[in-house]
Symmetry: none
Subunit: 221 residues, 4 copies
Amino acid sequence: MPRNAPPKAQTQVERRQKSEQALLDAAASLIAERGVEQTSLAKIGERAGASRGLPTHHFKSKDALVARLARRSQDRVIEATRNVFEHGEKVRDDIPALDVLRTMLDTYLELFQHPTTEERALIVMWGATFPSEASIDGMLEADQRSYDGLADLIQRGKQDGSIRCDIDARASAVAFFGMMRGVAALVLTESDFQDMHHVRSTCDAWIVGALAPTPTSDGSG
Amino acid sequence: MPRNAPPKAQTQVERRQKSEQALLDAAASLIAERGVEQTSLAKIGERAGASRGLPTHHFKSKDALVARLARRSQDRVIEATRNVFEHGEKVRDDIPALDVLRTMLDTYLELFQHPTTEERALIVMWGATFPSEASIDGMLEADQRSYDGLADLIQRGKQDGSIRCDIDARASAVAFFGMMRGVAALVLTESDFQDMHHVRSTCDAWIVGALAPTPTSDGSG
Amino acid sequence: MPRNAPPKAQTQVERRQKSEQALLDAAASLIAERGVEQTSLAKIGERAGASRGLPTHHFKSKDALVARLARRSQDRVIEATRNVFEHGEKVRDDIPALDVLRTMLDTYLELFQHPTTEERALIVMWGATFPSEASIDGMLEADQRSYDGLADLIQRGKQDGSIRCDIDARASAVAFFGMMRGVAALVLTESDFQDMHHVRSTCDAWIVGALAPTPTSDGSG
Amino acid sequence: MPRNAPPKAQTQVERRQKSEQALLDAAASLIAERGVEQTSLAKIGERAGASRGLPTHHFKSKDALVARLARRSQDRVIEATRNVFEHGEKVRDDIPALDVLRTMLDTYLELFQHPTTEERALIVMWGATFPSEASIDGMLEADQRSYDGLADLIQRGKQDGSIRCDIDARASAVAFFGMMRGVAALVLTESDFQDMHHVRSTCDAWIVGALAPTPTSDGSG
DNA sequence: AATGAATGAGACTTCATTCAT
DNA sequence: AATGAATGAAGTCTCATTCAT
């Protein structure tokens, strides 16, 4: 063996990773149900089918665990919206930016039509960042990245002609992101919105109405 | 009251109400800072300049106190948006519904440009309702009322001609309410949005684009 | 009532002070038995005949409780040595300093012949200050005061003629204090020193030999 | 082992001993800093540059490790004081007992003028034996041996004429040992005793004054 | 020989609530 | 009306120890 690669570490590492995923799954479901503060490390361990002490053992602290979960949840949601476009390894650069935005929002809301425990947990953790002194590490940074990505996307749309030129990219990103999260949270809270289909198409219409070039200009001539 | 009319009966009541308001103020600021769970009754009492036992004495339980605060905060915000229209005791029935919606959203966002402790507390409490099992008494009901009011208003707009006829009133209310709350929360979290002015005008444009009758439709005859 | 003396606070205060003494007594006995670190707040509460939460409720933290105990224990020991001289309110300024020192040490060691729980706790807490990062608030400061008092006393002895002039007061205070504490600790540790009587007279002889003016100078003539 | 004779069999043992010393060094420094109870096996392993599990692997239990360290520390201090006399393999039988005692104490205190981590750890462990139920294996036994040795030495001094005949050997041993340890502990605690030189000469004077034959007795003849 | 994953007991502390004053 | 003493449950985190690798 050229390097000091430990031959048996494989299984050790496997065990650790398996535990970690189980713990994060348990944490996600508990947080979705009761919120961050009401979820104790002991309960996470128990629901994961492990000991009460394991969560601390793995993540050193509750904050670290929640931060880890926040990142994982956001990655998963982002990946889910991305998968709509990239079935193979296709990139989406050739798709009009507005279409990307529309699909993104629609996919997002579709997720929350029958939300898994992890999607709900993501919104719950978002809610936990509202107090001024609270900060879930990784949540805010990832949000910032999402917001930056949206602003870039909108800017690109202004160049590819799918988005009107007279709008403010950054402000529109805030409006878009805010509506996405806000509507998702509302839907989660009031579980009697069974007309989710209407909500989705309405939101889609809002985006088009706000960002698409005015149809009169090209058709009226 | 017939017997031995207490000379300062009013003062007694006054004092009680004064205490109550002080306690709610203290609770609002603490909740805005640290969240609902991290705010203890003892700290509320202390910040209100009273004893540790007073909050329990007045509100019987923490849940009751938070519920009371939730209602007060929502009332205040609603009142703030209403005041724009009713300087005397005027009603707003003669104003086009779309204008009411636009002003409402703009006023709301203006509040969060320099949010007081109470507005932030409201959003924090909203975030606390995201877990499926959590419920802040009075929070969801008031939201439901707000949502119903919005749906009615939109419906009215469809009749007074300020809002397009082909839109779904209830779904649009969700989109409107979601954007309002979502953008407010985003602004609260990322304090570096100093271009709030752009955000407000952008949101206004979104509403107009989504709800206003298409300019071609009224001109085409 | 001239002052705002609360009429019923009396009993409240009494209750608090009673609890406090009981807690400190319990803490002293537990610390004497098992040491500072091995004594838990829960056990203190239980031994005091109270709840597990009371110690924290009273003293806010374990450190504060231990600090409080350290001060009380030192005060009591100092008072015990002082009582030998002041049966009424006599002061000891007229007693030769050397005699004061001798009586002080002898009384101290006598205490440790059949040490109460509190005296042992004092030595245990002294031992807990040995780690460089550990600090029991109040312990070191009180020790410093004791040491300063000893140095002053020795200095006075050099003036009243009971102590030789060629000795260093501060260094002698260290030797005296060190021997006092060290012998006490040794006696505590090795419980089979039943010849405590010899130890006491030996220590007395050491002091006299070290500090008294050489007997040859006055008697040999 | 029959097959593929390990070429570094000796290195195996060496390595083990090297690990052990590294672990004890790490333990000594940690105990000197934070005390016995606050020192965890995991931290010892880490500071020794090894794994968290190594301390347990080597010493089976924390008590065993501490006992091992106590013995090593005492051996080293004893050896240090002994080295002053035996530069080769000379024994000290021909040196007057009082001189041995004086040198012993002076060397001891010199060690604590700039104490290494191990000397401080020794005192810390001594302090950890003060609680009545606590016992660091090997600590008390070694102390007892030291004390016995001192008593024997004093007894010998009474025969070789360097020590007065009318003193009690065992009680004097207690006084000597107590002063030695007590002054050392004091010096460790109050790090501002920079006049250590005076303390050392003062202690020396105390011993001489207490144990040496009175100058009149030998000069009067 | 050595690592580190896992356990479970126990520590300190916070806190809502009850109750005497 | 108001205070604050007291309780006991629960939370996070530390740690010695066991065990699989």
